[in-house]
């Protein structure tokens, strides 16, 4: 009897589609990080000043911080349901390269949380006085940044599956690692606003993203195996 082996790409697509379907049924969970994002960016003018020219100075940074925090909010539960119902064990046992399956899961998570943040960023940015000239850089930097953060957060979530109050621990683990993203991303927006070319930090962001894309799945599979095997 010849065994039929599902090609990895098909298996990854199944994982991706499953998550998208599940999210469709619970769209409020998808909306929560987005609402949090808007609420947090609203806090800054209220806490400081309604003066847009003053807010503009730190606007890029505030949008970035809010995006990072909102992404982290959604990451804690990334693997929880799958570990609880045994799906992750099936992935580990399936013989498929675990990294690809986990990457598919992270990709679905990013489409549902990171991408909406990116799309919303011009709107919240305008609330902080950011001019339309920076929208492109803002969105592109956040695209790379939220993508990287989804992978970093995926590693953290895989490590902390089942831990009590894991979301705080997850933030403590992931945020220090995300500092370079914050530095380069917000700086790119500020440079664009000043009329300088943001190419430098954007390229560094892209380099970090690709590094996370290639090495991240390795760390994630190691982490998932550790969480599931015990």
């Amino acid at each position: 009897m010849t065994a039929v082996r599902t090609p990895t790409l098909a298996a990854a697509k199944l994982v991706f589609q499953r998550d998208m379907t599940l999210a469709w049924r619970r769209w409020d969970e998808v909306a929560q990080p987005l609402i949090f994002y808007v609420v947090v960016t609203t806090m800054f003018p209220l806490a400081t000043t309604p003066d847009l020219s003053a807010l503009r100075e730190i606007g890029g940074g505030v949008v970035w911080v809010a995006a990072l925090l909102a992404s982290l909010l959604a990451l804690e539960a990334l693997f929880r349901a799958d570990v609880e119902d045994g799906t992750t064990e099936q992935w580990v046992l399936s013989g498929q390269p675990l990294g690809y399956l986990l990457l598919a899961k992270v990709a679905a998570h990013w489409v549902l949380t990171g991408l909406p943040l990116v799309i919303m960023s011009p709107i919240v940015g305008t609330g902080l006085g950011l001019p339309t000239s920076v929208w492109g850089v803002l969105m592109f930097s956040l695209l790379l940044g939220t993508g990287t953060l989804s992978i970093l957060g995926g590693i953290g979530a895989a490590l902390t599956v089942g831990v009590r109050r894991g979301s705080v621990l997850l933030s403590l683990l992931v945020l220090p690692l995300a500092m370079p993203l914050l530095i380069f991303g917000s700086r790119a927006v500020a440079m664009q606003m000043d009329g300088d070319s943001p190419a430098g930090p954007l390229q560094l962001l892209a380099a970090i993203f690709f590094m996370a894309l290639s090495l991240g799945p390795i760390a994630m599979s190691a982490a998932i195996r550790i969480s599931v095997e015990n």
């Binding site: 970093l152 590693i155 490590l159 902390t160 831990v163 009590r164 894991g166 621990l169 403590l172 683990l173 945020l175 220090p176 690692l177 500092m179 370079p180 530095i183 380069f184 700086r187 560094l204 970090i208 090495l215 760390a219 190691a222 982490a223 550790i226 969480s227 015990n230």
Partner: protein, 243 residues
Amino acid sequence: MSWTWFHKLASPPHAYRILGTIAPWFGWASLALILLATWWGLVKAPADYQQGDGFRILYVHAPSAWMSMFAYVVMAVAAGVGLVWRIKLAHAAAAACAPIGASFTFLALATGSIWGKPMWGTWWVWDARLTSELLLLFLYLGYMALRASFDDPQRADRASAVLALVGVINVPIIHYSVNWWSTLHQPASVTKFDKPSIDLAMLIPLFIMIAGFQLYFGWAVSRRLRGEILRRERNANWLKEAA
């Protein structure tokens, strides 16, 4: 080349005994060097042209900053060895390094901050070195928090090992990004802190202190590692002779 010495080293009872023997040597040697460096740094070394006697804080600040980074790398390498070759002793070594490294990071931050007050006029400055040390402290705290969150010691070992490896890869990126970030705004005041024209007479106590701290690290890790070995060993046989 015979690898028996390596395998013997990784055997817990053997390591336990060896560490017990070498620890006192590390301890006394480190005490001697630290005392010598303290005397040399506070008394013998000439005062700095710009900073006067204030610069003597360098002799405790720089070695602690060095140790904070050294300990993290040792921790990450040990964790990596433990993860890849499944050597429990390596995991134990990583666990032993963490609190020591974190305390040195804290000391580097505190002394750096104290040194900053007379030099820059404020208790804190977001310069590259201090900010990097702060982020390193966060990495240490995250590592220790992750370890503490598991009841299962094996999962604690392996999960924190993954974190340590991810962290150590990030450290150069963090250093570079913080450096780049700090150059974006040059402080208006002339920082006397930046590069005191340092001559050899002033450097000697620095090197002695670093050597002393390194040996002290060796002592502290040896003692902690012995404890970690005992905690991980379930087989009572060799413990009967050791304990």
